[in-house]
Structure formats: structure tokens, C-alpha cells
Symmetry: C2
Subunit: 366 residues, 2 copies
């Protein structure tokens, strides 16, 4: 778990929601700010101060908006879980970009059960769909929950094959936005025995750039990812690469070299992914779903702990001048994660103290 205060009140939850819904604040910046200011409330206060000083057009999410979002969740029967709540999927806490909050539609008790992701092409072949459904059913019967992305093609059949045993759909838009629209029935069916999951604001309609971000959660919530039919540069490969970075097992179903939908999966196998022809190939690699989560997947990323923000702020500021300096130089000189430097820069930008230049350069403002 990230370094945060003890379990929080309803007021805390509201502050968390405001902070993550504010402009320019993604999960990584969120955790940096929480580390720097102790609580989300203090971070919001600090950002407000800085913004007023800098007179920029930066907009924090208002308390009203956050309350409205929370009320809508209650009204619709959705849950909004912070990463501190016990129902929150613990396996996500090992990610440096763990979402601070998740909207859930469906069963909360499925979120902490052992899960495998099955993903693949939207324009999949009949054979691919058939395989997705069969693999999902077979790993489901063996005790695994199945995660996917509610997309057309492979995703849909992965969900269908595991409806009875429990399936998780991580979606790219807001929890109340059903995309593609023809999957409305599937969306509701999943919620009966499984869960729909979103980290995005209510009512957000997903655009192309939301999908890669969502894909990291499909792999992140799973112990292994199975890829069926994926072309080169497809979203499924992004999920597979996220899985590798997150230390998850990667499986791929081979296919004919003459089918462009198999280029991606064949290449994954060439790079070392386990070749899958049947559920047995998966089950023989994965430990039993009854085994507890490996230690490295339950520990949160700890890189935040050691930062001495005060001295770092002084040191980095001393490096800046009216001449633009490269962000890379700052990161190397101070040997801290790039996100830590970015958090300082965000604050100084809000204050109007620095200016950004093309090519990831920054300079002081006169």
C-alpha cells in the first residue's frame, strides 16, 4: 500500500476524489502529492495556495463536483473504493500508477480473487472467439476469475465464457458509459456475478488514448495475461507489455503466419511468452488459484518513502535558471524518479515560477 495515513473518513474520501479528478493529476502525481503533503486535504490546500499565487487558469475539482459524483454512485448502486479500503483489489497496489479510486458496478467480493486476463483482437476470427470462450470457461472451472475489456471480439467471448464462474470487465470510460453500446446486455450480465471496473470520471466517453491506460489495469488486476489473436501494434500487445512490466505471466495462442491477426501473438511467443493451445498449458504454469498472492504483488511501490521533499526542492530550484534546462538532466543529477521532479515542476508552474519549453525543457520565469 502507498504511504498514506490510517483508514480515512468520508471527508477524506471526498478529498481523494477531488484530488484525482483535478487537472494534470494522474495516479502517480496523486501518490507523490499525498506523500509530500500527508493527506489529500492538505495537498488540495497547497495546490489552491500555489494556484492563487500564480494566477494561472489551473482548475481543481470542486467539492460540489466530487459530492455529486459520490451521490450518483450511491443512487445507481455503484461503489467507489479508495485504495485503502479492504475491498479494493490488493494486487493493484503493487503498481506505481495504482488508481487511488475505482468505480465498481457489481460484486465487490470478486475483486480480490485470483484472476487471469484474456484479451485479443476486436476483428477476431470465429476460431479465435471460440477459443477465447473455451479457455475462459476452462480456467473459470479451475478456480480463476477472468478479466477482460468488454470490447468486441475476443474480449466479449472471454466474458461470455466465464459469466457463470465470475468475470471482471475493466472499461476505459466512466463506470456508467457502456462501450461498445451493443454490449449493454453483457455489461449488466457481468455485474450479476462479476464486476465492471473503471478508474475514470463518471460519464466519460472513452477516446483512443484512454485504452492503453485502461489496459494496464486489465493486466494489473490479473496474475497472468492470455493473448488470443493480436496484430502488430495492437492494444492487446500493450496489455501484454504492461503485464511483463508488472511481473505478470504472459501467455499467447499461436496462429498461422499468413493471418495478420496472429503476428502479435506469434511474436510474443518468440519473445518468450508461454505457448497456449489449451487451458492445461495455462494451469500448468500458474500456481493454484488457491495459493496466496506472491509477496512482490502485495507490496506497494516504495520509491516514494525516501524523498526529502524540502531539501530536494531547494536543490532542484538551484539548478534552474532563465536558460532552459532539460528535465532529463534534473532527473539524473538528483537521482530521483522523473515523476518526483514533475510534481515539483507542476507546483512551480501553478505558482508561475517556471515556464515549460519544447523538448522537455524548463526555465525560471523572470
Amino acid at each position: 500500500m502507498h504511504p498514506t495515513p490510517s483508514p480515512h473518513s468520508a471527508e477524506d474520501k471526498l478529498s481523494w476524489l477531488r484530488l484525482i479528478r483535478s487537472e494534470k493529476i494522474g495516479p502517480i502525481t496523486f501518490w507523490q502529492l499525498l506523500n509530500r503533503y500527508g493527506t489529500a486535504k492538505h495537498a488540495l490546500e497547497a495546490l489552491t495556495r500555489l494556484t492563487q499565487r500564480g494566477k494561472t487558469s489551473y482548475r481543481l475539482a470542486s467539492e460540489y463536483e466530487a459530492e455529486k459524483e459520490l451521490k450518483f454512485h450511491h443512487k445507481q448502486g455503484f461503489s467507489l473504493l479508495t485504495a485503502l479500503e479492504p475491498e479494493f483489489p490488493q494486487i493493484l497496489c503493487s503498481l506505481t500508477d495504482c488508481p487511488p479510486l475505482l468505480s465498481i458496478y457489481g460484486q465487490l467480493d470478486i475483486l480480490n480473487q485470483p484472476t487471469l486476463a484474456i484479451v485479443g483482437a476486436r476483428n477476431s476470427s470465429l476460431n479465435g472467439r471460440h477459443l477465447a470462450e473455451r479457455l475462459a470457461t476452462d480456467v473459470g472451472k479451475a478456480g480463476w476469475k477472468v478479466a477482460s475489456g468488454l470490447a468486441r471480439g475476443i474480449d466479449r467471448f472471454a466474458h461470455q465464457g466465464s459469466l457463470q464462474t465470475g468475470t471482471l470487465a475493466v472499461i476505459a470510460g466512466g463506470i456508467n458509459v457502456i462501450y461498445p453500446p451493443e454490449h449493454q446486455d453483457l455489461y449488466h450480465a457481468i455485474a450479476q456475478t462479476g464486476a465492471i471496473i473503471s478508474e475514470m470520471p463518471l460519464s466519460l466517453h472513452p477516446t483512443a488514448n484512454h485504452f492503453p491506460r485502461r489496459n494496464r489495469l486489465i493486466s494489473g488486476i490479473s496474475r497472468g495475461v492470455i493473448v488470443i489473436e493480436a496484430a502488430f501494434k495492437s492494444g492487446s500487445l500493450i496489455t501484454a507489455h504492461a503485464a511483463l512490466e508488472q511481473g505478470r505471466e504472459v501467455f499467447a495462442v499461436p496462429g498461422s503466419p499468413l493471418d495478420p491477426r496472429c503476428r502479435g501473438t506469434n511474436n510474443l511467443i518468440r519473445q518468450g511468452a508461454a505457448l497456449v493451445e489449451s487451458a492445461q498449458d495455462i494451469l500448468s504454469v500458474m500456481e493454484s488459484p488457491l495459493s496466496s498472492l506472491p509477496a512482490e504483488l502485495t507490496q506497494s511501490s516504495t520509491f516514494l518513502r525516501a524523498i526529502n521533499w524540502c531539501s530536494l526542492e531547494t536543490d532542484v530550484l538551484a539548478d534552474l535558471s532563465l536558460t532552459p534546462t532539460a528535465l532529463d538532466t534534473l532527473v539524473q543529477r538528483h537521482a530521483v524518479p522523473v515523476q518526483t521532479i514533475l510534481t515539483l515542476l507542476l507546483e512551480w508552474e501553478l505558482e508561475g515560477r517556471i515556464q515549460r519549453h519544447p523538448g522537455n525543457m524548463v526555465s525560471l520565469v523572470l
Copy 2:
């Protein structure tokens, strides 16, 4: 090269042919006898003596038969090469079961050029055939000759794709037996720019048990073997396993888990064969065809050299009694290759000194 006397006369060649065409003598026994008696002629004389002593029905090939086979070769324009002749494929000499003689129909200068084998299912898919032809053409253009087995399906298209650049067909029957018969045109076309190769006696019609023996020569004559569509327990897998034993590279084309013709190739990939989608995947693994043959592929198997036949004969004989003894026990006790023991047993059998029993047991005859 196997331990043999210096380049031999026409008379020597006739003796080699007689010896290898004699009952119960395969390539391994052939080399053992040559090692034991110095020349094929001396081996024939020894076997004749033993046979007369034992009064068994064992039949050596006659001089007449061998001469007839040689004459037929000349008449038809076939060549008969011993393993000592410079045109003989040197890469085969590293095999412990290197054929002592090969019948060739076609171009002799192709036999020592860098070669890759392409093999696969007879009942191949259209896609598989298309791929076989394309891969053969592409590796051909890159300077490789292509070996295969003249069979229906993948083999045929591998030959067709490489007719222009040169292809080798290793066949399971006699050099003059075209099987399957509908490949008559292909057989003659191959001989124009490439070669038909057989180690079997003239006019032998192949039966099921001849094919695995032939398969070891397809891989043996090649530096790498590419398998396209192979079911479990198929002949192509026998070729792939022979290739591994012979230290050749193994490549396999993946396919859908729903196609039983891909079970074998997918399993090869799972076991470590390089995954092939295009010729580039092969060319990037193989050294340039211009590079000389790796040392380990030009050296003959040397296990024959160290045998002291005389003392071994005394020692093994001392181990036998009227009670049957297991062959395995003899091999373990004397720490020599099983074939060396088998050569001694063959001689004693011809002499009528021993008797064989079920389960690889032997006993002395009273």
C-alpha cells in the same frame, strides 16, 4: 570420415556394395565391421567363414548382384558414391549411421552445398503449401539448397519452390522407384538442377518402416530443418527429432490450436524450436550459407577408434552362459556402444555359437 583405408579401387567399391546389401547389415554394423576387419573385402571373407562354420541360412550379397546394381546405375545415368568419394555429402559423415553408399540421380555438385530441409504434412492445408513454396523460394534466393522427401503436400511444394535454385529429394525407396507415382514429373525436374538421393537397394519399393530411416538423412544432409504443419506422431516430427540428435537447428511454423496439423509444430516451439513466420526468421538464426561447415559437422563419429576387438571379444564371451543374459547388461559392463556388442553377437550368431531370446536376451548354444 569413418576409419577406413585410403581411397579405394573399383574392386573396393564392389565389396562395400556387397557388404551393405547383405542381410542384417545396416550402416552402423557396416562401419563396425570395417573397423574390425580393416576392409570390406576382409569383412566379407570373415562373414563367409563364420557362416560356413555355423551352417546358418544367412545370405551375403553376391558379387554378381553387386555388379548388376553398379551396371544398372551406369546405364540409367545414376551415380553410386561411397562415403570416401569427394562428391559424397560430407555433412553426412558426422552421423554414426552414415550410409556407406548413396545412389544419386542428378547433379553431384549440389551435394556439398549448404542445405536446409523443409518438411511437413502430406495432408497439408492450402496455406501450408503456399508457405512451404514461399519459404523454399526465399531461402533458395538467399543461397541455400532445399532438401525434402518428395512426398505429397508440404514436401512437394518445398521442392517446387526451390527448383530454380536447387533442391534435394531424399527418397525412402530405391533410386529408380518414384513414389508417389504422380510425382514422376517432379522427380525428373529435380534431377535437372538438383538431385534425387537414396541409400536403399535398386528397385526397393518403400514400406512404412523405411520412412523414419530416410527421415534421418533429410535432416542429416541439412544444417537446419523447417517443419510446416505436423500432427502429433507424424513423420515430420521424427525428422525434427533426428535433427536435434544430429545437432541441426530446428524451426517450426506455428498454427491454430484448433488445427490438428499444427499440434506437432506448436509443440516443437514449446520445446524450444525457433518460431518461423518468414524466411527472415530462418536466415537470422542460420549463419550465412557461405560460411564453412561447423567443425562438429565435418568430423566423423570417433567412437569406433578405441575398440580393442580382440580383448573385448574374450571379455564379452566370458560373460555369456547357457542362461540368457540381457544385452543391456553386456553394454553396461563393458562400457562400449550397443552396436559394438551387436556386431560381436551377429558374428557369433552366424557361427551358431549363440542364440537370441525375446526381450533382447542372448545365451550360449550348447
